[in-house]
C-alpha cells in the first residue's frame, strides 16, 4: 500500500509540474488552478503514503536515504502548496514542484522502506531533530526557487523582454519577500535541529567527531542560511544579490550532500 500511494504521489507531482509548465508556455487562466489542485492531491497522496509507512513499519520515515528523501520531498511540495494557496504565488511551483517530484522519485527508486539501522534511531529527540532539519531544508528550497525566479524575472525586466517569464513569474518584490521569509523561517529551524541533534548525540550516542559528514553538512547548511540572510540585510538594494546567494547556497548544500555521501562509508546511518 505504501509503495502504491507513494508512486501515485510521484505521478501526481509529475502531472502538476507538467501542468505548470504548460501554463507557463501558454496563457491559460484555468490551468494554474488545476495545477494547484493536482499538487494538493499529490500532497494528500504523499501524506497518506507516509502515514501508511508508519502503520506498516511502526516507526516514522526519518531513517535511511529513501524515507528521508521522501519526507523532504513531501515538505518541499507542502511549501509549494502553501505559497500557491496562502501566498497566491502558484508560479513558484514551476521550480519547487519539479524539485519535489525529483526528490520523491529518487526515494521511490531507492525503495521507501527502513534500512537495517532504523531501530537505533528511535526516540522523540531524534524525530524532533530530523523534522526540524527537514523543515529547514524545505525552507531553503523555497528560498532557492524564489531566488532563481527573481534572477530570471530581473533579467527580463532589465532587458525589456516581455515574454513568458514576464507574464507568468510573480513580481520582483513578491519573490524577494518570499525568499527572505523562507530564510528567516529556515534559519531558526535548522539551528534548533543542530542543537537538538548535538544534545541528542551527547546524551544518547557516542559524541560525533567534528569531521563527521552529518556535522559538516549541518554546519555548511547553517552557514548558507546565515550568509544569505546577511547579504539581504541591505534591504531591497541587495535583493538581487540576496537572490543569487539563495540559489548558490542551495547548490552548495546539494553538492556538499552528494560529495559527503559519496565520500562517506556506507554505514554512517541517518540521512547520509
Amino acid at each position: 500500500m505504501t509503495d502504491v500511494l507513494h508512486l501515485a504521489a510521484v505521478a501526481l507531482y509529475a502531472l502538476a509540474a507538467a501542468l505548470l509548465g504548460i501554463s507557463f508556455a501558454r496563457t491559460d487562466r484555468r490551468l494554474p488552478a488545476v495545477a494547484t489542485t493536482t499538487l494538493g492531491l499529490a500532497v494528500a497522496a504523499h501524506g497518506a503514503a507516509l502515514a501508511s509507512y508508519i502503520r506498516q513499519f511502526g516507526e516514522p520515515p526519518l531513517v535511511g536515504l529513501a524515507p528521508s528523501l521522501s519526507v523532504l520531498g513531501f515538505l518541499i511540495a507542502l511549501g509549494s502548496l502553501g505559497v500557491a494557496t496562502l501566498g497566491r504565488t502558484g508560479p513558484l511551483g514551476l521550480v519547487l514542484v519539479p524539485v519535489a517530484a525529483a526528490v520523491a522519485a529518487a526515494a521511490q527508486a531507492a525503495g521507501v522502506r527502513p534500512d537495517g539501522e532504523a531501530m537505533l534511531f528511535r526516540g522523540p529527540w531524534f524525530v524532533l531533530h530530523v523534522v526540524l532539519a527537514m523543515l529547514g531544508y524545505a525552507a531553503l528550497a523555497v528560498s532557492f526557487a524564489a531566488g532563481l525566479m527573481y534572477l530570471l524575472q530581473f533579467r527580463e525586466l532589465k532587458g525589456r523582454r516581455f515574454g513568458a517569464i514576464f507574464r507568468f513569474f510573480p513580481p520582483l518584490e513578491t519573490l524577494d519577500r518570499i525568499g527572505r521569509l523562507a530564510l528567516m523561517a529556515g534559519l531558526p529551524l535548522l539551528s534548533a535541529a543542530l542543537l537538538v541533534g548535538w544534545a541528542w548525540t551527547e546524551r544518547f550516542q557516542h559524541p560525533m567527531a567534528i569531521g563527521n559528514p552529518k556535522i559538516v553538512l549541518g554546519v555548511i547548511s547553517w552557514l548558507v542560511f546565515v550568509v544569505a540572510l546577511a547579504v539581504r540585510a541591505g534591504g531591497s538594494r541587495q535583493a538581487r544579490r540576496g537572490a543569487l546567494v539563495s540559489v548558490l547556497g542551495f547548490a552548495v548544500v546539494v553538492i556538499s550532500y552528494v560529495v559527503l555521501r559519496v565520500g562517506a562509508s556506507s554505514h554512517t546511518g541517518g540521512f547520509l
Partner: protein, 432 residues
Amino acid sequence: MPLAVVGVSHRTAPIELRERFAFGRAELPGALISLVEETGAETVVLSTCNRTEVYLAAPEGVDGTDAARAVLAKRVGMSAEAAARHLYLHRDRGAAEHLFRVSSGLDSMILGEPQIQGQVRDAYAVARETGCSEGPVVGPALNRLFQTALNVGGRVRSETGLGIGAASVSSAAVDLSKKIFGSLKGRRALVLGAGEMSETTLECLRAEGVRTAIVANRTWERARELAERWGGEAVRWEQFGDALAGVDIVICSTAAPHPVLTRERLRAALPNGAKRPLCIIDIALPRDVEPAVGDEPNVFLYDIDDLQAIVSGNLDRRRAELPAAEGIVGTGVEEFWTWYSSLAVVPTIRALRDHGERVRQAEVERALRSLQHLSPDDQLAIHALTRSLLNKLLHSPTVRLRQAAGNGRGTGVLDTVRYLFELEPDGSPHED
C-alpha cells in the same frame, strides 16, 4: 414575443455622432420610461462612450423597433432616414448573440476590454430600478437576457485569456510597475510633464493605489493644476532632481526636444545609487530619458516602444482566444434561446390544461349526479382518478411543445395544437 436591439456603436458611427446619441446616467430613467411608452416593450438602454443600444422585448404582434429608431433619431436631431444609416438592428437570436458578444468584450473597440461588463451590469441595474405607470420597464425576457449576458461575459473572462494583459499604453505602464513592485499601494510617483498622456497614466497609477504624485512641469501653473486634480504636490521644474530620491515610479511625458533626465542628472540626484527599485516610464517622443539611465543598478527604464510591444503582444494573445470565447457565447445563446422560445408556448400549454380541466370537471360532475349513492370518499377517489388520467394524457404534449419551441419548430406545432383543441392564438379557448 419578439426580441430586438437597435443601436449605434464605434463600428457604425464616428465619436462626434456617438457622443450625441449617448445618454448620461441621470438621463437614463427618463429615457427608459419614454421608450417604454413609445414602444410598448420591456426596455434596457446600454449607453457607453463606444455604443448606445436599446434592447426591446415586445409583446407578441408588437414591433417596437421603429419607435426606438425614431426616439434615437430625434435625440440627435436627424431624420429617421439619416439616422438609419448609422443604426443597426438585430432581432431575436441575433439580438441575444449581439448582447452576449458585447458583454464579453468581443464587440469592443479594444478586444476583451473589461469595463464593458460593468457597464452592462449598470445598464441592467438602472432599468431594474426604473418603473413606469404600467409597471417595471424590465420583465422576465430582458431579466433573463441580461443575467445570461453577465454570466456569459464572466465565463469568457474567467475561462479564456481574452481579458489578460494590458491593452493600452497607460495600463501597460501599470503592468510594468506591478511586475517590479507587486502592489502599487502606497508607492510614490513623479510625473515629468503635465500633458494628456501623463494624466492618463497617473490616473491608472492612482487607481492602483499610488499614494503620492509629484508633478513637475516647465509651466508651473499647469503642474499645480494637475497636482491639485490628483491630490499630489507640484515642484518647480528645476527641482525635480531632488524629488527623484524619494519616489518609486517616474512618468516622463514632456515635449522637450532633448532628454531631460540624463545619467549625470540621475547620479547627481542619487549619489549612492537607487536604494530601492526605480521604475522610469518614458512615454515622450522624442524620448525624455537618456537610454544610459537604464544601465544604472536598480533602475528599470522603459520607453513607448516597450509599452507598445506589451500591448501588441497582449492583443495578439487575446485574438488567439477568440475561438474559445466565441464557443462560450454560442453556448450561452443556445441556452438562452431554448428558454426564450419556450416562453411562447406557455400560454398555449396553460390553455390546453385549463381546457382539459374544464372537460374533466364537467364530465365528473355529470357522472356523479347519477352516482349519488357513492360515499364522499368514493367521490374524491373518482376526482383523483380523472385528474391523474388528465395529467398523464397531457404530459407528453406539454414536454413535446416545449421541445418544439426550443428547436425552432414551435410555431407550426403551436398552430396544430390550437387547431386541434380549438384554442385562440393567445391560448384562450375558442368560443362559439
